[in-house]
């Protein structure tokens, strides 16, 4: 059973719809008891960084989640803003991130004169897997995913980035540190490519 962490931010129904489509059982919950019983966790998120961290804090979820992920090594997948929360900080806000991954989130900066380099980065773009991480098994370089974001992660150790996406230079679009994974795009809105990623998470991570 995968538990989708409900902390009042993010499009939970879409993730559950896709898990259902690929035959993976899931529940949406904000209860620590459910997280403890879960095989894996998905941390969704859309909107602003500080608001998301404040919602997690208000629901008193930061400490129990950190214990389950860092001590008990439960697998977790952060999606979109949920991935950025996994890091140490974000230029978007003042709150500290969860600190499960050595990475910092910064805003896209258009230093080019290219008018097609717009912020937010919104639409379909490709990913280029680096190495052979199980989360990306069967996903070829050039597979396309749906992105909507204005900030992106910079990893302290380059090997943390397990896939890159070109947008004004390459940025880390999928990250992994131990039992913690993050995807900047929306797998739940990325057709068969997203289904493959979520299937990999459910079966192999």
């Amino acid at each position: 059973m995968i538990v989708i962490v409900d902390y009042g931010v993010g499009n939970l129904a879409s993730i559950q719809n896709m898990l259902k489509k690929i035959g993976v059982a899931s529940v949406i919950s904000d209860k620590v008891a459910d997280f403890e019983g879960a095989a894996k966790l998905i941390l969704p998120g859309v909107g602003a960084f500080d608001r998301a961290m404040e919602c997690l804090a208000d629901k008193q979820l930061i400490e129990p989640l950190t214990h389950l992920v860092m001590q008990e090594k439960k697998s977790v997948l952060g999606v979109c803003l949920g991935m950025q929360l996994l890091g140490i900080s974000s230029e978007e806000g003042k709150c500290a991130g969860l600190g499960w991954i050595g990475a910092r989130t910064v805003r896209f900066v258009n230093e080019t004169a290219d008018p097609s380099f717009k912020i937010p980065h919104m639409g379909w773009n490709i990913i280029k897997p680096v190495g052979n991480d199980v989360l990306l098994s069967g996903i070829e370089s050039g597979s396309r995913f749906y992105f909507v974001h204005s900030y992106h992660m910079i990893c302290d150790i380059p090997q943390t980035a397990i896939a890159l996406t070109p947008y004004g230079g390459d940025f880390a679009s999928v990250v992994r540190h131990g039992n913690v994974w993050g995807a900047q795009f929306h797998p739940e809105k990325s057709h068969k490519f997203g289904m493959q990623l979520l299937r990999n998470f459910a079966e192999h991570c």
Partner: protein
């Protein structure tokens, strides 16, 4: 850089999908769930669902049917029609809609539009700017499914919308709607040049070449209705969508 998005626009009326001509004469196209399933198989970039009756009938979005449709959408879904409050936006996002399309409210209550943009985030708010050519020269933006004029020029209107926090413009030509003879290219050019937020061209697409031409005029994405649901000169209903290779060749 990003490949351009190619977006089918589906018009909802009651529980069925329809296609209009010049915002009139709705012709039945099919069942929304079936249609969305076919578009899923074709791996469409995005779907835009517009309830063309909600605002005129002064009723809120039909959440039951939207939820049913959203549960079949494994691609981004935008919804428009009858959206008037922040709470409706919250409910729509909860059932699996990514972006909210607003038309009449943007003109009638700009302060509510602003609240919606700060609640949902700019990238989740699209305003549909429905435009008719004026009798002599110039253009005018319309609301309430094209039935009421605003006296506003679309160029200055979209600049104001951007200022209010709107993240994207669905630029809809009422004159070209359902005609399949090409977009209103001068309109696309003028509006795209006026704002740096994405402009989605809509109304009149009949060929892939029309998509290319709209992108050359500055549109960030192209949308169509008839092109994706009708086939041949008798307009038989047949769902189609360009292949990834065809989309790559648009630019």
């Amino acid at each position: 850089m990003l490949r351009p998005r190619v977006i089918p626009v589906l018009l909802l009326k009651g529980r069925g999908l329809y296609k209009t001509t010049q915002f009139d004469q709705p012709k039945y196209v099919g069942d929304p769930i079936n249609t969305v399933r076919i578009f899923n198989e074709k791996e469409v970039d995005e779907i835009c669902l517009l309830d063309i009756a909600a605002s005129r009938e002064k009723r809120p979005p039909n959440l039951d049917i939207i939820k049913e449709i959203a549960s079949e959408c494994f691609m981004p879904l935008s919804y428009g029609g009858g959206v008037r409050t922040v709470d409706q936006v919250r409910l729509l996002l909860n059932v699996g809609v990514e972006k909210i399309v607003i038309n009449s409210l943007a003109f009638q209550e700009p302060e509510t539009l602003q609240k919606i943009a700060s609640f949902a985030g700019s990238s989740s708010v699209v305003v549909s700017v429905d435009v008719k050519k004026k009798m002599f020269r110039g253009y005018e933006a319309f609301i309430l499914s094209g039935s009421v004029g605003t006296k506003l020029d679309p160029v200055s209107y979209v600049q104001e919308l951007k200022r209010l926090g709107v993240g994207e413009i669905l630029l809809n030509s009422i004159d070209q709607d359902g005609v399949m003879k090409g977009y209103d290219f001068p309109l696309i050019e003028a509006v795209s040049a006026a704002v740096d937020i994405p402009v989605i061209a809509c109304g009149g697409a009949g060929t892939l070449a029309n998509f290319s031409a709209a992108l050359k005029c500055g549109a960030s994405a192209v949308a169509a209705g008839s092109y994706f649901v009708f086939q041949g000169k008798h307009k038989a209903v047949l769902i189609s969508y360009p292949t990834p290779a065809e989309i790559d060749q648009l630019i």
